[in-house]
């Protein structure tokens, strides 16, 4: 029970009930605005009947040749609206747009400690493609899983054959 609509700049004035969650990063303005300028259709927000931001997804399409893929940059749902299938709906939109753009797969990075999100992505059909060492800087640095799901264009699911060895951040293209 949400209104799903494109994200607008002024949503940033009241997305705190989503962004104050420690697992959701608040970026500088230009980051959000560049996404809005470059991939506006990939930036969608879910709004409650009273105009509260319930969650949003932010993504992009990039890569060359068979690496042309959709990417989830941020996905987050406000605590009181979790476990209602909202993240699933938002991911559906992103996958749908990626299909329309003829992407081969969708990928994302997630902290290895983020149990909830990893469980969720697995449930949505994503696999751990590889581990990226010390992808998140902090104290201490944290590894990321690079998770992937093949889209229909990748008929033989070649994009989701897991790598056996972890990679370093500078090695990801």
């Amino acid at each position: 029970m949400t209104t799903l609509r494109p994200f607008r700049c002024e949503d940033m004035f009241h997305f705190n009930n989503v962004n104050l969650d420690p697992l959701t990063e608040t970026y500088g303005l230009s980051f959000y605005l560049q996404y809005l300028a470059h991939w506006p259709e990939y930036f969608q927000v879910a709004e409650s009947p009273s105009g509260i931001v319930m969650g949003y997804i932010m993504g992009k399409a990039e890569g060359h040749g068979e690496n042309w893929h959709g990417h989830v940059t941020a996905l987050t749902v406000a605590p009181e609206y979790r476990r209602l299938g909202l993240a699933r709906q938002l991911m559906d939109i992103l996958e749908d747009i990626s299909e329309k753009k003829r992407c081969f797969f969708v990928d994302l990075f997630v902290r290895v400690s983020n149990r909830v999100a990893i469980t969720m992505y697995k449930k949505l059909g994503y696999i751990v493609y590889r581990t990226v060492l010390q992808y998140y800087s902090g104290d201490p640095d944290e590894d990321a899983y690079d998770m992937r799901k093949a889209l229909s264009r990748d008929v033989y699911a070649q994009s989701v054959v897991p790598l056996t060895h972890p990679v370093r951040p500078e090695d990801i293209e």
Partner: protein, 1078 residues
């Protein structure tokens, strides 16, 4: 030849690369060295020179950079690398206009260069020069007839229109834009989706919905392929709505509901359209449902602040509804008389949707809520019976909703807006039935997590429906105790949750905290003295909650508030840092902690927060410029007006303006201990005494006041009037601040002019008589002209400050209201105005004016003026002294001891009645509520802070007096007394000196009093630490002696630090004033 040039290029590129690399790595010194190396081989290489300039700029050598860059610009470069480097340089020099000039020159040299022209276009985008943007885009289009260029031109017209000040200009520009697109449409040249979207945007902005409708329904609609599936239909529905074509709108929405039965906007649109068809016109012109009154739960798309500017929602909905209501006649009229009531049809339709949905494995909430929304809307229109017949009984509807979704955290939020439609007499039976849905153990504790959610929903509903309104303070506390108990009892149910997740039981703690605070008298008119003991316990409980649920920001935000109430800003800051606020949050959540830290004399924390905040705002321009350019590049043209609006909303932020002013005031008062320091500090700041650049009418309140949870009934929630009043009081304070800053700047200017004139007079006296004439006229011109203006300016500012403070009289009388918890902290002006400190500033400025007059026009200083100043400052310092002596800091912990709690129990024993809640009465309910609680140190600290700052300003003004008087004193003592120069009666000198002496001794006393307090707190801290804070009783089902130890010691440490900084600040003033002896 060509071959050679090519080689050259790649050589150059290779040579330059290391410079770029050093720059990227942030090693500017190395970048300069590398550039010098390259320039040794090829001295004239423009790009290397610019890059060197850039590195120098980043090293803080602005002048050298500007020199290098100017020379290159003169050579009119046209190569990509140099131009890009120049662009970066000018951006960092904050001279975006120069980028336009550079590319203008380059394109003149190479008019056929598409690349250069498009850079020129982007340069104009950076400075919002829409007219030139348009021309350049058309030049590009003529050069290369590509659609994007044409649409750059179109969009430039649009922006010119949207930003045009007058209505006429706006209309013309938009019409021009529309025509340009029309021509393209006629010629069949429209290619891309972005072009269609731009077209729609232009039509919407002009309110031409009929035209827009035919676009989406026509050929062009087919070009929209990348948008979400419902895009075109939603557009149609919105346009029909705007046009008052209710039947058509209803049809589209009904279809949309069929396909997307969980998308809420469809229901809102559908029900509204149906109501209109049936002749039940919506009283408000909002597309949102009727709702409860509270600002925070309300259906507000509009910004909360009082500044009117409402957020424009998608598709430019808003304005023109009025006309649509009257147009609506065509649809409604006779529909209602012979056919079935359209509302009945809609009800049947929604019921069917609901029925279909209920067969899902996990039924979506939308279809259920849709029916409730219709019922509620009908009730709102007074159609109670119709609602009951068509949709069923509202209470039953709500109950069945709770039956299905009461075990979700969002249940309360889903239905809260419909609660006001529940008749009073049904509330009790309703809640009884909700209680029946909670699965409990024998002892009443919820059986599992689902039951916990239901139990919470019950408590939340009870509160919202007014069931806690009539409790006595004692009962509030008991209720809170029972909630804390419930939290502890259910904690184990959620022990297997990931620790990044928020515990559902945390809501018990929030509800409890709200009840405690209510019981403690926060918001009960008892604004100045909420019981500190209760505040400390709430703090302890929230701290515990955060340990378990470290992701829960609701607990953190409330905790910051509680510490702020206590004035313990050191701990507020610790919690604040756990929230990790960044970027735009520094604006929207700046009200949680920034100025509070300043006022509690926590200057280190304040400076930290201010500096991050100002950095964010300063970067706003640059941060929004690049995306603006990207929007043109990637064709997301309709984002452009949105970005510009966003940028302006940020740059007009009230918080930005306030922090800017407070930072400057801090800079010129806190650590300044001599006049030369002051003059230096003022010159560092960009204060123009003659003009205030604030656009007062455009200031925006960007605070996010919806983030904190509340379950209060609508009338207890934050109201719009309260927010507006709060905003205007902040604006009033800002006016006082800005005037004060300008006044100090004007004073410095006045004396710097005079003293340099003095210098030239002395110079002139040294010189031989031969050059006398010239130099004389020069210096006389300088003096009279500059000084007269500065003097008038100072006088003018003094009057203005006085008037402004008079208009703040309303604040002086009342203490500032404690707003509901989700609202901002009490506004600061009440306390500031009540200390009457503006008077001190005004009087000292008058003294300065008199001294200046006596120096320039040989007038004596009237003793009255000095006396008045003396009176004013004496009163202020005396008040501060009393404040310092009364600061109940050292005794606070003792006042919250067990004994005083027991005392409270005795006086309260008769209210110990049966509570409806199974209160396992803890010690907390025995708190002394009736006995007068000790005053909170917060107000004392704030007053002392304001006093210290005011003394800083007074010292600055006295310092200016001193720099006027000192040269005269020097010359009168040295030279003979027959000189014709301005003669100042020695009386003035002595009076001034004796004034300084009195002032110094008073400030000295103040400092001593603060030191005494400081010692007392230190002793208390040591004593309490030794005793492990056994005297502080914070026992609750969740907390015990350990908590007393941490909280008690942190609190006392916080006060200790505040006192330390206040003492230091006062000591600086003392040093400053003592240095002004003549």
């Amino acid at each position: 030849m060509a071959g050679k040039a090519h080689v050259d290029d790649s050589v150059i590129e290779r040579r330059l690369r290391p410079i770029y690399e050093w720059l990227d790595a942030g090693n500017n010194k190395k970048a300069v060295q590398e550039a010098d190396k390259v320039l040794k081989k090829q001295a004239s290489l423009p790009c290397a020179r610019v890059l060197k300039g850039l590195a120098l700029l980043r090293l803080g050598k602005r002048d050298e950079c500007e020199g290098l860059v100017a020379a290159v610009v003169k050579e009119a470069p046209t190569d990509e690398a140099t131009l890009q480097a120049l662009t970066i340089c000018f951006r960092e020099l904050h001279q975006p206009e120069q980028i336009c000039r550079v590319y203008e020159t380059a394109t003149k040299k190479e008019p056929g260069n598409e690349e250069l022209l498009s850079h020129l276009f982007m340069a104009y985008v950076r400075v919002s020069n829409y007219r030139n943007q348009h021309q350049t885009a058309m030049r590009l289009f003529k050069l290369k007839p590509k659609n994007p260029y044409y649409f750059w031109a179109v969009m430039s017209h649009v922006m010119q229109g949207v930003k045009s000040g007058d209505q006429k200009g706006r209309e013309v520009s938009l019409l021009l834009a529309e025509r340009m697109v029309n021509n393209f449409v006629k010629e069949g040249k429209i290619e891309a989706e972005a072009e269609v979207l731009t077209y729609l945007h232009i039509l919407e902005t002009q309110g031409k919905y009929a035209e827009a409708l035919s676009v989406v329904e026509g050929e062009l609609g087919n070009k929209v392929v990348h948008q979400p599936g419902n895009f075109l239909r939603l557009k149609r529905a919105t346009y029909h709505t705007h046009l008052g074509q209710w039947q058509a709108a209803a049809d589209v929405y009904r279809d949309l509901i069929k396909d997307e039965h969980d998308n809420w906007q469809h229901y809102v649109g559908y029900i509204r359209a149906v109501m209109e068809i049936s002749g039940r016109h919506s009283p408000t012109h909002s597309l949102n449902p009727p709702s409860s009154t509270g600002v925070c739960s309300g259906s507000d798309n509009s910004s909360i602040g009082g500044f009117g500017g409402s957020d424009n929602s998608t598709g430019g909905c808003g304005g023109s509804d009025k006309s649509s209501v009257s147009n609506g006649g065509e649809d409604s009229g006779c529909d209602t008389c012979d056919k079935e009531d359209p509302v009945a049809t809609a009800a049947a339709h929604l019921a069917a949707v609901r029925k279909a949905a209920s067969t899902q494995e996990y039924p979506d909430r939308g279809p259920f809520l849709g029916v409730i929304h219709l019922a509620s809307t009908l009730h709102h229109h007074g159609d109670h019976t119709l609602s009951d017949t068509l949709c069923g009984d509202l209470m039953e509807l709500l109950l069945s909703y709770i039956t299905s979704y009461g075990d979700k955290m969002c249940c309360y939020a889903d239905i809260t807006q419909y609660l006001p439609n529940l008749p009073q007499e049904r509330i009790a039976p309703f809640l009884e039935k909700v209680e029946g849905l909670v699965n409990r153990r024998e002892d009443g504790v919820p059986l599992d997590v689902k039951a916990m959610y239901r139990d919470l929903c019950l408590v939340q509903l009870s509160r919202a429906l007014g069931q806690h309104e009539h409790l006595s303070p004692q009962e509030h506390i008991q209720l809170a105790d029972s909630l804390v108990n419930r939290y502890s009892q259910t904690l184990e149910l959620t022990s297997n949750m990931a620790d990044t997740d928020i515990r559902p039981g945390d809501a018990y703690l929030l509800l409890a905290a709200h009840s405690y605070l209510r019981g403690a008298g926060v918001r009960e008119g008892n604004t100045t003295h909420p019981n500190p003991h209760v505040l400390l316990r709430v703090a302890a409980i929230l701290e515990r909650g955060i340990v378990v649920s470290r992701a829960n920001f609701q607990l953190k935000l409330l905790l910051i508030k509680v510490y702020n109430m206590l004035g313990a800003s050191e701990i507020s800051h610790t919690v604040y840092e756990k929230c990790d606020l960044k970027h735009i949050q520094l604006d929207t959540l700046g009200h949680t902690l920034a100025l509070q830290a300043l006022d509690a004399a926590n200057y280190t924390a304040a400076a930290d927060i201010f500096s991050a905040t100002l950095k964010f705002f300063m970067a706003n321009y640059k941060d929004t410029s690049d995306p603006l350019i990207s929007s043109y590049k990637y064709g997301s043209l309709t984002r452009i007006p949105e970005f510009v609006e966003f940028r302006e909303r940020l740059s007009n932020s009230l918080h930005f303006a306030t922090v800017t002013a407070e930072q400057m005031l801090l800079d010129i008062t806190n650590e300044i201990s001599s006049h030369s320091q002051l003059v230096e500090a003022v010159s560092q700041l960009d204060i123009d005494p003659a003009t205030d650049k604030t656009c007062w009418d455009d200031l925006r309140d960007n605070r996010d006041l919806r983030v904190m949870d509340t379950w209060d009934p609508p009338h207890r929630q934050l109201q719009e009037v309260e927010v507006n009043a709060n905003v205007s009081s902040e604006v009033s304070l800002l006016k006082l601040r800005n005037l004060t800053l300008r006044l100090v700047a004007a004073a410095c200017r006045l004396t710097s002019h005079s003293s340099s004139n003095k210098a030239s007079i002395r110079d002139h006296q040294h010189r031989s008589s031969s050059t006398k004439k010239d130099s004389n006229s020069e210096c006389v011109n300088g003096e009279t002209c500059g000084a007269t203006d500065d003097a008038t300016l100072l006088a003018d500012l003094t009057t203005r400050l006085h008037q402004e403070s008079q208009s703040c009289a309303q604040y002086r009388a009342s203490s500032s209201p404690q707003l509901p918890l989700q609202g901002p902290d009490p506004s600061r002006i009440h306390l500031y105005a009540s200390c009457n400190l503006v008077g001190v500033i005004v009087r000292h400025s008058e003294v300065l004016q008199q001294v200046h007059k006596s120096c320039t026009q040989s007038q004596g200083v009237s003793g009255e003026v000095l006396k008045a100043a003396k009176g004013e400052v004496e009163a202020a310092v005396a008040a501060g002294l009393a404040e310092a002596q009364q600061l109940a800091v050292a005794t606070l912990v003792a006042a919250c001891s067990k004994e005083s709690a027991a005392e409270g129990e005795a006086t309260q024993s008769e209210t110990n009645n049966d509570n409806t809640f199974d209160s396992l009465s803890s010690d907390l309910s025995k708190l002394s509520l009736a006995t007068s609680s000790p005053p909170l140190p917060r107000h004392g600290l704030e007053r002392l802070h304001h006093l210290a700052q005011t003394l800083g300003v007074a010292a600055a003004l006295l310092g200016c007096c001193h720099s006027l008087l000192r040269p005269i004193k020097a010359s009168t003592s040295k030279k003979n007394k027959k000189r014709k120069d301005p003669v100042i009666t020695p009386g003035v000198m002595t009076e001034f000196s004796s004034y300084l002496t009195t002032l110094s001794s008073q400030i000295h006393q103040l400092k001593e009093a603060l030191s005494t307090q400081h010692k007392a707190v230190k002793a208390a801290l040591e004593q309490h630490t030794k005793e492990e804070y056994t005297c502080l009783d914070l026992t609750s089902p969740l907390t015990g002696p350990e908590d007393a130890k941490t909280i008690g010691s942190q609190m006392e440490l916080s006060y200790l630090k505040s006192l330390e900084r206040l003492t230091a600040s006062i000591a600086n003033k003392l040093k400053y004033i003592s240095s002004l002896r003549l």
